[in-house]
Assembly symmetry: C2
Homo-oligomer: 342 residues x 2
């Protein structure tokens, strides 16, 4: 049996089954945005890791060193944000094709890391560099901290919770389509930046956790439906999404139609938005609205959780509903997924 | 300027210069075996990361999944050992060539991780998997802890300290030569295991730190002389090594001569022994001897540190001395190094 037969999520399930968190001292092992490890008193350590491989996660033709450094750190910061934690610092491994990589490119890469790290108060703590062969390989592991009783997990979703997202959906996926089309057109820069230099929602995640607003939370890296599915499976619940409520940027509304017959599918299934998806008890709508103003960040109610729904139901503006198949980016099944989508 | 022009250590120096540990709350950033981050009270967090890339760090023809899993974790554990810390758990990133990687191989890999993790009390906390392309890519980041005032750094070496190593030197490098020669001969298995499944010196490092025996410590991953050089640079001191004191296994003594005219060069320069190199005040020789018995682990005095020596001096059994050029494995300068060694 080849790995491509069981796919990424099948493989992760297999590992989680075979190696359950055995040590009672570890609060969360495999299966949330970060690991959560009690350290002392009410403090917990958060640890997350993300790997970016040239040709699969980025393409050196379309991203410069600075943006690549930014993005490599951003995707990790987004995981800490999704737990409501505070990032501390990170270690970095690089596999570098030494013969074709310029020191200038690497300097830019570190500058991008440093820019975002500085903004977010995190520091480069150490790392490992070696020859990478054919591909530029980046691995960042990011350390964070939180209060034990304020961490927000994926499994905290409650019946009739409202579902919210930060920011806008689909811009990153549309940005990628623009890159692929070689686009220099209107809004291309802005949408591209949403793809290349996402701003992790650290402040948003922290306030949602500290004020005990969010019951369940995850970051949207694989696409809204795919990441929502993780909350649903772990919270043992279903959800309804109101399509007319999905927050779409002006740029998205103007440009998406040129690249797809179904712009909503980009907002529902396109990955790499790095927004936060979270559930909140419906009696806290006022609190969420106040928080949105305080953060100057859109927090948009897009649906609800329900014990009476199995999986995800999509409701259109006319109130018609249909079942959604959870679709995400499976690294080991990409071709099959693409064929399915067609 | 290509990366291959400045080499791995030149590159690391450049990064450490450009991005010095800025946050006063971090005790050690780049430049020791692990990062050391104060957490609460007298506790510090240790964090280290190591990347293994197929074709550069291992070859799938000569290592099975179980041993590869073991080794990937062992090299990280060795870094925690070198600080005198206690490992807690790790996150794992895999880049997997999905079409040619069997689920059986991956199961074996995780089994190897699990075996050693179990022995050392550390747990898989999470990770990231994706398509790797041409090469199998492994990255582990290992979390540990220690008491703030007991951590042993590379920069603690004192004038006239004795220099010690745990275990034996050169076996791993000889094991690699045997692998390359396709050897099934006498002791091949034992030497190969020293290369493929090194046993990290967690217990040894911990006791050396807790009892405040070691002043400076590092693990030997790049070779005795290369790693000694890190202690010397950071402690601003020189060293004398007594060649007749280098601890060589019986197997090494029997077999090394077949593969090299200069077996001592394997013990001095061969990497991947994952033993600990540490310095101790010379009035503690009795204490080290007792510790060696308690640990049932050879702790061999191989030389001394001295403010009056510049770099490293090698002393042979007749008392003749010569200067050693520090030689290590530089991932970006491999070819040049090899040519220099010839």
């Amino acid at each position: 049996m080849k790995l491509s037969d069981i796919g990424e999520f099948g493989f992760i399930d297999r590992i989680a089954r075979n190696y359950p968190a055995g040590d009672a001292s570890i609060l969360k092992g495999i299966g949330d945005d970060t690991a959560v490890i009690p350290f002392s008193g009410n403090s917990v350590i958060l640890l997350t890791t993300d790997q970016l491989i040239e040709g699969f996660h980025f393409c050196l033709d379309t991203i410069d060193g600075r943006k690549l450094g930014w993005k490599a750190l951003a995707v990790n910061l987004s995981d800490i944000a999704a737990m409501g934690g505070t990032p501390i610092g990170f270690v970095l491994s690089l596999g570098i094709p030494a013969e074709r990589t310029s020191v200038k490119f690497l300097d830019n890469f570190y500058q991008g890391l440093y820019w975002l790290g500085n903004k977010m108060g995190v520091e480069l703590l150490g790392g490992d560099t070696s020859e990478g062969g054919e591909r530029f390989i980046i691995n960042i592991s990011l350390l964070g901290k939180a209060c034990k009783d304020k961490v927000v997990y994926r499994d905290g979703g409650q019946d009739e919770d409202d579902l919210y997202v930060t920011g806008r959906l689909g811009d990153a996926a549309l940005g990628l389509k623009l890159v692929e089309a070689g686009g220099k057109q209107k809004f291309a820069g802005k949408l591209l930046d949403r793809h290349l230099t996402p701003m992790p929602r650290i402040r948003e995640g922290k306030l949602l956790a500290e004020r005990k607003v969010a019951n369940a939370m995850i970051d949207i890296s694989d696409g809204l439906l795919a990441d929502l599915n993780h909350i649903l499976v772990q919270s043992k619940i279903g959800a309804e999404i109101e399509l007319s409520r999905l927050p779409l940027s002006k740029e998205f509304q103007v440009r998406a139609g040129e690249y797809t017959d179904n712009p909503l599918s980009l907002a529902l299934g396109g990955g790499e938005d790095y927004e936060l998806l979270f559930s909140v008890s419906s009696d806290k709508r006022g609190e969420v609205a106040r928080l949105s103003r305080e953060l100057t960040c859109p927090l948009t109610r897009i649906g609800r959780l329900s014990r009476h729904i199995n999986g995800v139901v999509l409701k259109d503006e006319n109130g018609r509903t249909k079942k959604a198949a959870p679709v995400g980016y499976d690294h080991f099944k990409t071709l099959k997924d693409l064929q399915k989508e067609k």
